[in-house]
Every structure is written in structure tokens, then in C-alpha cells.
Point group: C2
Chain length 407, copies 2
């Protein structure tokens, strides 16, 4: 998505989760990981309107329930603390006790009511949180410093790079900013994966409108990425809007709501794509655009089916213009498809027309597939709806990383 000239959303070159006014963040090493940072915090000067979306996995981790309950009290959060290396998932009653203790200790350290503190955990499943180390992390929280990059590092697991962004847009004559930090890597699939994303804004936003916007945006962005088809127990996207710009609180009845909503979609898409590109072992970002579908839902399902195909993913890794695997995945998506109208493009190179292969230059297509970003477009020519999904190639390194994660 490009920046709209109409709405004037500006993508900042060096944006962070603390680019919006009134937010600070930091991260430390508390001993959960060998050397890397493993405990981070995000803080707003004032309570912020909050909204969240969470994994649909039946085995939802304890911190998600604790955070949901916290937000439910008055739709506000003022801080979030996050640990990596341990997911506090499949940990039963003790896991819930630990999650509540983590929230309570963090709240005390920041002098807040517990219900204003969200918590997240990511990492290995089924091991109780070592609460001494969590306490070490909490005791190291220092709200006088602001180092977003440390927060961004502390939330990572097998990610190779930090993921952050910020956009700004004028609302009520004030320049409001939306920032974000995320982590992803493995277990990434539609419906929230081992994915954490924190979005901040200094705009004032009505909580109900914020939740609705987040839910709708998630369906078009975070839920359209996949790394390996595995949806995790811990996926969470949290948004905090602290109102420091003192605009008239945003909701769909605000004349500039659409601008804000567009800015929100843009930053969500940027973060989602960064997660997909940094999938475990990935060397390429793959974008599958499906158009001409009878419904957005059908387009989305087909786009996700293609991006989830191990055969498509390995073909892209090998720079092999094996369009047959794309067509095959379109065919088993479960959505009704008319083979005789399907066109497929690799980048700008059309390889299939009306379900039949074209005599394209394999050499040219191979050169295209050696790029770092690959777009596969499927035009069903059956309707007007479209959708885009993002994923990555399947490589030796994916196998290497996941055949030895624990040991």
C-alpha cells in the first residue's frame, strides 16, 4: 500500500513504538535467555484507551487472559511488560498464578493499578515462568529512560531483526503519530500466530472505535500473513491511544476518522509484512494478490492457501517459476474456481492465461524470482473482490531452526 495523497498519511523513515508523544519503552536481560535481552516494557505517561486481539487457539496462554481481563475493567492500559524465551502456555493454574504475579509486581514497580498493566510472554510452551528472573526484569524497569530499540529486541524469539514503524497524519490540525513494534518468526499463520504486536498512538480515540478498527484491520493485515501455518497459543496485538495530542476523540463520526483508519491500516500492514519477511529461515517476502473473486472472503482464502503451500514456498526459494503449484493451490483452496478463467502473474510476467500456461521466458521469470520480494497475482476474473496475503519461502534454514529449537 502506498501513502495516499488524499489522506496525507506519512510513513516515517525511522519510526518506533515510542514515536507518538507520551510513550517510553525499554528492555533488559533478566536471565531467561543466555545473553540476549528478554524482558521489555512499554509505558504511557497517562492511561491510554486500549484494545486487543488474541489468538483463537484453544490452548490460550495465561498472560492473554490476564491482559484481556485487565483491558475489560475500563478499556485502558498504561503499560505492558513482555518476556521472551518462555510462553507461559500450557502451564495450568500455576501459570495463571505466575501471570497475575507478573502483572501485580510490574504494576507496583510502575506505581499503577494492576488493571492498567498488560502482560505478554513468548517462547517455549509448557514450562513454568521462572518468577525470580521475571522479578529481576521487573526490578530493572526504569521509566526515566526511553530506549525503544531495547524493547524491540527484548520481545524477539527466533526473529533475526527488530520490527518497528511509525506513521503520522493530521487530525484536527494536529499531527498525530502511530507507532508500533512487533515480533514474529515461527508459528505464524492467520488468526494470530506467535506474533506479538504493540501499536501506540498519541491520538485520542474512543475505546469502542479503537477495538473495532483493530479487529477489522487485523483481518486484513496480521491475519493475512503466514510463515508455517501454525497458529500459536500467545498471539496478541495490543493498541494504546493516550490522547496526548488532545484531538477531539476519534470515532467513525469524527470527520477525519477515515484518515486515522487508513494510517492505522498502513502501519499494521508494514508490521505484518516485516513479520512475514523475517519468517524462520526466510530469504524472501512473498505477496499473493488475488483479484476478480466473487467475495473478499473467497479472495482471502485463496490468497492464504497459495501463500501456505509448501510447494509454492520451496519453488520461490529455488527461484523456480513453477506456476503449476500456484494453480494447484488455487484449485484446492476449497473456494469454487473456474479453471478456464484463471490468470497467474509472477511479478509482471504473465505465466497462465485462462487456466493454460503461456509461453513465457523461463529465464526472465527465474531472474524475477531471485528478488527479495516476490508478488504472485491470481486473477480469477469472476467478480470484483480482492485480497492480499503475505508469507515467505521455505528453506533449509527453516528445517534447521525447527528441528533443533529446544536442544
Amino acid at each position: 500500500m502506498l501513502v495516499s495523497e488524499k489522506t496525507g498519511v506519512n510513513v516515517m523513515q525511522e519510526g518506533h513504538v515510542t514515536s507518538p508523544a507520551g510513550f517510553s519503552a525499554g528492555g533488559v536481560h533478566c536471565g531467561l535467555r543466555r545473553k540476549k535481552l528478554d524482558f521489555g516494557w512499554l509505558y504511557s505517561e497517562v492511561p491510554a484507551a486500549a484494545a486487543g486481539v488474541y489468538t483463537t487457539n484453544s490452548f490460550q496462554a495465561a498472560p492473554l487472559q490476564v491482559t484481556k481481563d485487565a483491558v475489560a475493567v475500563e478499556n485502558k492500559l498504561q503499560a505492558v511488560v513482555v518476556n521472551s524465551a518462555n510462553a507461559n502456555a500450557c502451564t495450568g493454574e500455576q501459570g495463571m498464578i505466575n501471570a497475575l504475579a507478573m502483572q501485580k509486581q510490574a504494576a507496583e514497580a510502575m506505581n499503577l493499578s494492576p488493571h492498567l498493566v498488560g502482560i505478554s510472554s513468548t517462547g517455549l510452551i509448557g514450562v513454568q515462568l521462572p518468577m525470580d528472573k521475571i522479578s529481576t526484569g521487573i526490578n530493572a524497569v526504569d521509566l526515566s529512560v526511553n530506549q525503544a530499540s531495547l524493547f524491540e529486541q527484548a520481545i524477539l524469539t527466533t526473529d533475526t531483526i527488530t520490527k518497528h514503524a511509525a506513521v503520522s497524519v493530521e487530525i484536527d490540525g494536529k499531527r498525530i503519530t502511530i507507532g508500533g513494534a512487533a515480533k514474529g518468526s515461527g508459528m505464524i499463520h492467520p488468526n494470530m500466530a506467535t506474533m506479538l504486536s504493540y501499536v501506540t498512538t498519541d491520538a485520542a480515540v474512543e475505546p469502542e472505535a479503537l477495538q473495532l478498527l483493530l479487529s477489522q484491520t487485523t483481518d486484513k493485515t496480521y491475519n493475512m500473513i503466514t510463515v508455517d501455518g501454525d497458529s500459536s497459543t500467545n498471539d496478541t496485538v495490543l493498541v494504546m491511544a493516550n490522547g496526548k495530542q488532545e484531538n477531539k476523540p476519534l470515532s467513525p463520526s469524527h470527520p477525519e476518522w477515515d484518515k486515522f483508519a487508513e494510517a492505522f491500516v498502513i502501519i499494521s500492514e508494514i508490521l505484518a509484512k516485516k513479520i512475514a519477511r523475517d519468517g524462520e529461515g526466510a530469504t524472501k517476502l512473498i505477496e499473493t494478490a488475488v483479484k476478480g473473486a466473487v467475495s473478499e472472503e473467497a479472495a482471502g482464502k485463496i490468497a492464504k492457501t497459495v501463500i501456505s503451500s509448501n510447494l509454492v514456498k520451496t519453488a520461490v526459494y529455488g527461484a523456480d517459476p513453477n506456476w503449476g503449484r500456484v494453480v494447484c493451490a488455487v484449485g484446492y483452496s476449497g473456494e469454487p474456481v473456474v479453471p478456464e478463467t484463471v490468470d497467474v502473474f509472477l511479478g509482471d510476467i504473465q505465466v497462465v492465461e485462462n487456466g493454460l500456461p503461456l509461453d513465457f521466458s523461463e529465464e526472465e521469470a527465474t531472474v524475477y524470482l531471485e528478488n527479495g520480494t516476490i508478488t504472485i497475482t491470481v486473477d480469477l476474473k469472476q467478480g470484483e473482490s480482492e485480497a492480499v496475503a503475505w508469507g515467505c519461502d521455505l528453506t533449509y534454514d527453516y528445517v534447521k531452526i525447527n528441528a533443533s529449537y529446544r536442544t
Copy 2:
């Protein structure tokens, strides 16, 4: 499944598709592949009752339609010819013309009506069949020889071994035999994958009963295997029952129908497991058994979700007892699951009880996971239904094979 003492089904040590009386088979090299055999035929002395199941992929290859139409004429087939290396899929009108020509030429060579000849193709998608080579194959058909192993080789693509089996059982005081040959390897997933299976029997079976038995058995066997989640355009299972044993034609009203049905399920399961074990790059067969489910459908969906998880597959490859990935896959299967009642076993080693990890010996579990066959059992303790699915580990070689299939 073990041989039932009650029904006396006997699994033959060296069984082939031609073990039943009155069948012969052969294979040759016709030039579609560099050196390996690439054209095979299967023949019955007399017209045989026939039944088939076919891929649900929207892009169904031309030979499937031709075979379906042939069977539809009088529910009989007397021969099947198969080529590998080229799938005749996504080939449009010309593909259909070629498929019909392949059928017609083969029928002439064997002196049969075309509607008694089924055809299959497997291999690359989107390239027209080189009909000169197909003719070379057809001209080489020699019904005076009987070399099942050549047929079994000729139908392979990236398979590393041939897949064949036979069972026998007494019906009406006569020993009837069911034989089979199959190929699999990549694009293997529930609902028929690049999977071809040919099952023969010298029993007399009513065509409608044969079709029903095949459809029901397929749901429990071939449709419960997965290699990579990709369902191909060409999957086919064909059964031919030539009645050479002159038993009273079998149908559910025959007093020994259950024995025959069990024998049919046994051979189908043997072939399905052989396909799963020889998945592209696989080093291990994984069996996921889900029990205590509220319905067979739920059990099947969960079993297939676990066996399809790239993270579970890589963990098994790495002999890593990462039960968290199993639990996670159970959780995102889409079936309602109560985390607090879920037990998980790796072989006989219980690793999860009531949703919580047990303090099992990692060393012992790792040793178990180094076996060639791995069983993962999930007990939901919610009902009485169960299902089993089969798959394989995800390895470096899977990536290697599929990143360079065409080139």
C-alpha cells in the same frame, strides 16, 4: 491395524497388484523420463467391476475426466494405462484430446472398447503430453508378459521405492486376493494428492457396493495421509474386481461382506502408509492417533491438523520431544477442545496429562523419536470417537527436492 483373527485376513509377504488371479501388468521406458520407466499398464483377462475416487482439486486433470466417463458407461474397466513425468493437467482442450487419444490407442493395442480402458498421468503440470512418446509406450504393451514390478516402477515420480501389497481372505469357501500398487511422494494431502493407487481383486463384487466401499475406505485411509498439505490435480484410486474366483457377487447383503470389507481396508491402509512413509525427503513415518473425541470427524480433523504441522514434522525430524507443538496444533485445529483434559503420548511415553506437561525423561523420548515409525497419541477424553492419520517428517531433503523439481 493387525490382522483380525476373526475374519482371517492374511497379509501376503510379497504381494503385488497382480497377485489376484487374472491380472497382469507391465512397464516400459517410452522417453518421458531420462532413463527410468515411465509407462505402465494393468490388465484383467476379463472386464472387471470398477470404482474410482478422484481429486477434489478444481483443476482436475484431463485423464481423470476420461477415466470417470469410461467407468460411467457400464461400471467396468479391463485395463489401465499410466504415464509418469507429465500430469496432463492445466492443458485445456488439447489436453483432453490427448487424453482421449491415449485411451483410444491403448484400447486398440489391447483389442478392447475404449470405455474399458482407464488412463492416468502424473508428473509436471501444464505441459502437453508428447503423444509420440505415449504412442511408443502403448506400442510396447505386451500382454503376454506379467511383470508387476515394472508397472510399479513406471508409475513413480519422486518416489524412492515402489509401493505394493496384497491380502487374501476366504469368501464362499474360495481364497480371494486383493492386490494393489500405488505411488505418492509430493503434493500428498487428504482429499487425494499426487497419489495414484490401483487395487485389484479376483473377487466378484457388485459395482455399487465396490464404489461405496472404496469411498468409505478412502476417507479412513488415503484421505488420512499428508506429506505437505498440497492436494494435486491428478489423484486417483481405481479398483477393479474381475470375479475370477467365481464367488457369489459381494455386496453388503452377502454374509461374508464384512470380511471382504476388512480386507479392503487393510490393503488400503498398508498402501496409504507406504505412501506417507515415502513422502518427499521423509526419514520417518508419523502416525497421529486421536481418541476420546466427540465425533470421528473431529478426531480426524485434529489428527490431520497435527500431522500437517510443519513444526511437529520438523520436531520429529530433529528427534525433539517438543510436545508443545502437538498441543498447539490440537488447539488450532478448529475443533472445540478442552485443554484441561488433553493427554499426549509419544509412543508409550506420556508427555502431557490434562493439558499440562509431565516430568518425563527427555532422553528416553529422544531415543524413541529416533525410530523409523513415530506414533503420537492425543487423548481428548471428551467422547468415544477416534481417528488415525499418517504423515512424515519435514527434512532438508524435502526442501532440496522441491526447490529444484523442474530444473
